[in-house]
Assembly symmetry: T
Homo-oligomer: 69 residues x 12
């Protein structure tokens, strides 16, 4: 495992449901084009307010995936 090199991608996912769900949505979108995703790190949690309520959560994640050599 020590020869692997990983790349980190920074994405912002959003969700009307929860902060966890916003992170999951970012990962699901990345899954469409990225192979070998291995881990994620939550960098920032914020969101928009509409009519005094959380309209959606916006979670910035860094996603690490293995580069194929």
């Amino acid at each position: 495992m020590s020869d692997h090199v990983y790349k980190k991608l920074e994405l912002v996912g959003s969700s009307t449901v929860s902060s966890d769900d916003a992170a999951r949505n970012a990962i699901a979108q990345a899954q469409a084009t990225i192979r070998n995703m291995d881990w994620f790190e939550v960098v920032d949690t914020r969101g928009h307010i509409v009519d005094g309520k959380v309209a959606h959560w916006q979670v910035t994640v860094k996603i690490g995936f293995r580069l194929e050599s």
Copy 2:
């Protein structure tokens, strides 16, 4: 939109249910007196422990709202 000025308020909400819910409670309370709330940023997540269980979550949020000119 470029002429607007926003103010940021720092609140700590709490909830026995979840960290997301603690943030929502802070925003709900602000809604009673603040108009034009636009976004929030989660600054800090912590909580109290009673009998070895999370008794309540305490989430610090900054809330941005548009000042009326």
Copy 3:
């Protein structure tokens, strides 16, 4: 001067012209309601992009003003 107490306010100003101008706009708006403003600190600089150009700058400033005793 050692007896004074200051309060810090966090504002976000915006401008289509420059980042400095966005900070100035936040201070100009605060001037309408706050007396004895003394200093400011730039906390964050960002902005929106429209059609591949900076549409407006958004600068977060903390403004310190002397409380009247």
Copy 4:
């Protein structure tokens, strides 16, 4: 209360369910050997991805508990 001294422990809990649950699991494990736990602080949220989905959340918490004098 001013005479108390607290110790902070740093744990990483994990959960397949949610980030909140990962924090709760760390606290539950600490409960087995630590008395007088009083508060926790979320330090870091990350997790592993398997098959393009969050396989489990990993949440680092600092737990504060009162030392018995």
Copy 5:
């Protein structure tokens, strides 16, 4: 206690005597207009020098107080 919402205020107190005293002065001033103050956090410690001596300490504190619902 889990239903409470707290607001954080950022003040800068000063004192010719000590850094602790500067924090106390900020809190004493806030006491004139704020009810239900609960805790404070020291954010920054600095001061002015006159004739090669500390003329006064300036301590920035965040003060948390409970909002009345």
Copy 6:
């Protein structure tokens, strides 16, 4: 808007004119290949000195753009 996922790109622009211009140059270059750019965040400001004068400003920006689903 809550279903969107954004990607963040980190670029360093430079300019002989001003720090704002360095940020604008980074965005202008990104415009050539990236669609749907939405916002930017200034991360770092530095530059080179030649003959005791600022020869050019170097500004690191993160640019957020919407991924097409």
Copy 7:
């Protein structure tokens, strides 16, 4: 001295007197069970407010002590 390994402990001391005293109290408590304490680092200073006055200071310190090989 280059062969030594040190462990860092994170404690929160409190005092009704001063912030320095809160740090000293944490160290005094550690002294009861830890040998070879060598240095400390102040990590955080905060406290509780009762009746608009500092009721007690709470200072988080990291304490380094030499492990016996």
Copy 8:
């Protein structure tokens, strides 16, 4: 040189030999597909432990390379 725009890439290299070597491995891998690499910044150093020994070092680097206009 002031007209150039650079992009930063975030990679994690690993090595069983040393932390420097882990950074070098990340750069070597990037070399396969990236032209005009100019500088790197070490962001984070960590690693895995197997049988009480460092099995491999993992070093996160940001790599800056010049975009061709």
Copy 9:
């Protein structure tokens, strides 16, 4: 170039005109006594307010210059 050693100096420049100008003023002043200045990094931007307007910008820069061996 790999044998060079650089020293970093921390200066605060001010200007009534702009934040960029405040940085330039700090560098211009350093030029009077320092040779071989090579780069600068903006560390902090703040300023004073007089009559509700920015009276002058204060920008802290670190300046790197090559030591002559």
Copy 10:
């Protein structure tokens, strides 16, 4: 793996040889009493200077190990 809870230990290792070696020494010492060590994170690198040379490196590492349930 998602049910595991890990504890983080903060140690300072030292070495006359290299910074990597200082980290290895901290881990080797921990190995004497801790089972199931899994990863480490380098937190801080410093050292002492004697006669204008690095006498020994001091590296602070956090070590994560699995708690047995």
Copy 11:
């Protein structure tokens, strides 16, 4: 005042008495060779422990002084 340029110096003072006194000692020493000192910022507070007691406080301060043009 807007034409002035300030230099920041980083000193570590120590004291057996208090953390404030350690900062004052650093400033007193600087006074011997530096003119026009204007302000200081506390950067770090730590100290040594001997026989389970604080033997002396070590406080790192940045001192700003006006350069003579």
Copy 12:
């Protein structure tokens, strides 16, 4: 030892060999003009890339030395 005052110097050393060597080079250069150097802290590690290889490491260190009273 509690009466001593230390000054911190910020240098950037470079080396084609290793990051540790870059720090050693900065200290060796300082040794030519500074007496009583006592400790160093690694602040930042980066470097230049030439032909897809690390051409040289650049390590920023703060060096503490005792001022003579």
